[in-house]
């Protein structure tokens, strides 16, 4: 039924693209989450007034399309600042900030969902602010925020397809290159989609597993 010119080498080429997608996503989600936690805790702790400048900056990253951010950031860094950085670095940087902007909201929402009376009880036992944050707030906020965070990670993985504009050849770009050469767009997109599914599915299932595990408490 299938008569395709796709060779094993092409598949390896695609797999390499998938690897780039995974690495870019992993870096962005890692640094984005770390920054998101810092920004989210800061926003919660200082209140809306003092956090306004930060909120404004994060809103910029959330509201401007990623494609535009990538192109502008790349132009700014390489042309205006004259830095010699690779497209890969720019892609990771922009995607990390983009992730952080969303993650900060998830973190803030998670912290706000922990009942104040519970925190008051923790403090009344003599726990310090830091101990309350790590022993009570964090475990509970993580449970609340996990589904949104998994959604964010999967979203970033798919959004990372846009980093082709800064000359990073990730999964989708690899597929496009093959499409140009082999002229089998539908088949190649199915293969490419399967790759995306293969990377996303375990993450989604892992999230589901954690939710089930924690709901037993």
């Amino acid at each position: 039924m299938f008569d395709t010119a796709l060779t094993t080498n092409d598949l390896i080429f695609l797999a390499r693209g998938a690897g780039v997608t995974l690495i870019v996503t992993a870096i962005a989600v890692f640094f984005g989450t770390v920054m998101g936690i810092v920004f989210g805790v800061f926003r919660y702790q200082v209140g809306p007034w003092w956090a306004a400048p930060l909120t404004f900056v994060l809103d910029i990253f959330r509201s401007i399309p990623l494609l535009i951010q990538l192109v502008l950031a790349n132009a700014f860094v390489t042309t205006v600042l004259g830095w010699r950085v690779s497209g890969f670095t720019v892609a990771c940087g922009v995607l990390s900030l983009y992730t952080a902007a969303y993650c900060a909201e998830i973190v803030r929402g998670g912290i706000e969902a922990v009942p104040p009376t519970l925190r008051r009880a923790a403090r009344s036992l003599g726990l310090s602010w830091g101990q309350d944050m790590t022993s009570i707030v964090m475990p509970l906020a993580v449970r609340i925020a996990l589904p949104s965070w998994i959604g964010l990670a999967l979203g970033v993985m798919k959004d990372s397809a846009l980093v082709y504009v800064v000359q990073v050849v990730e999964l989708l770009k690899s597929a496009q290159i093959l499409i140009t050469r082999l002229q089998e767009p539908l088949f190649l997109l199915i293969v490419c989609g399967s790759f995306y599914f293969l990377i996303s599915f375990p993450i989604a299932r892992f999230g589901g597993y954690l939710e089930r595990k924690w709901s037993r408490d």
Binding site: P115, T117, L118, R120, A121, A122, R123, S124, L125, G126, L127, S128, Q131, S135, I136, P139, L140, R143, W214, R216, D217
Partner: protein, 240 residues
């Protein structure tokens, strides 16, 4: 000894404590009664520094609670407080709930903290629930766990803020029994409560709060049998 001297406290324009003077001696059981909004719960949260005060001062064993130099986290080890809401930490088992602050705040070794937790949980009748998560406990059991959690810190004082108010009527008894047990063991306690019968039984003194003022304080027999102020008479008539 807890010494409260002319304490005033407002929430915005509303003055909830209008100059409270009160001394609670070691080993004394004081219950505080009064209508809602009378300031009695606020007083408890001020005693362990959860709420700031506007003026006056509170001394616990001679240490001024609201002084800048006071290490509140350290002071709170001496003062256990149990609230109306049970506030069980839902992600920890009953045993872990009672062990957490012992480990983090007192720095007790695991084995010691666990032994103490087991002892306190047995004490409040939850010895068979150690590995259970709080969601599996009834309200009364959760409240008893909260009491064990506070007791495990070996506090010198225990504050109870309407600990039976959120419970189903049939569960009130088990929690009050726990409080009676503590009182009989000589624990220094301040109980804010709506349980008049309980107040009458266990208290050395009963204080009646009305609109931010301590209107009357006396041994229970005197306070309940011969109330002096009209407000207290009205309050007692309404609660009977």
């Amino acid at each position: 000894m807890i010494e409260i001297e002319n304490v005033r406290k407002s929430f915005g324009a509303l003055e909830v404590l209008k100059g409270i003077d009160l001394t609670v001696a070691k080993g004394e059981v004081l219950t505080v009664i009064g209508g809602s909004g009378s300031g009695k719960s606020t007083l408890l949260t001020c005693i362990n520094g959860l709420e700031p005060i506007d003026s006056g001062r509170i001394l616990v064993d001679g240490i001024e609670v609201h002084a800048r130099s006071t290490n509140l986290n350290q002071l709170r080890r001496k003062i256990g407080i149990v609230f109306q809401q049970y506030n069980a930490f839902p992600h920890l088992t009953v045993l872990e709930n009672v062990m957490l602050a012992q480990r983090k705040v007192l720095g007790r070794p695991k084995a010691e903290a666990e032994a103490e937790a087991v002892r306190q949980l047995n004490h409040v009748g939850l010895g068979d629930k150690l590995t259970v998560y709080p969601s599996r406990l009834s309200g009364g059991q959760q409240q008893r766990m909260a009491i064990a959690r506070a007791l495990a810190m070996s506090p010198d004082y225990m504050l109870f803020d309407e600990v039976t108010s959120a419970l189903d009527p049939q569960l009130v008894g088990e929690v009050l029994d726990t409080l009676r047990l503590l009182a009989s063991e000589g624990m220094t306690m301040i109980c804010v409560t709506h349980e008049m019968k309980f107040a009458r039984e266990v208290s050395d003194r009963v204080a009646f709060f009305h609109q931010g003022v301590m209107a009357e304080i006396a041994p229970p027999a005197q306070l309940f049998e011969a109330p002096e102020s009209p407000d207290l008479r009205k309050f007692l008539a309404a609660t009977h």
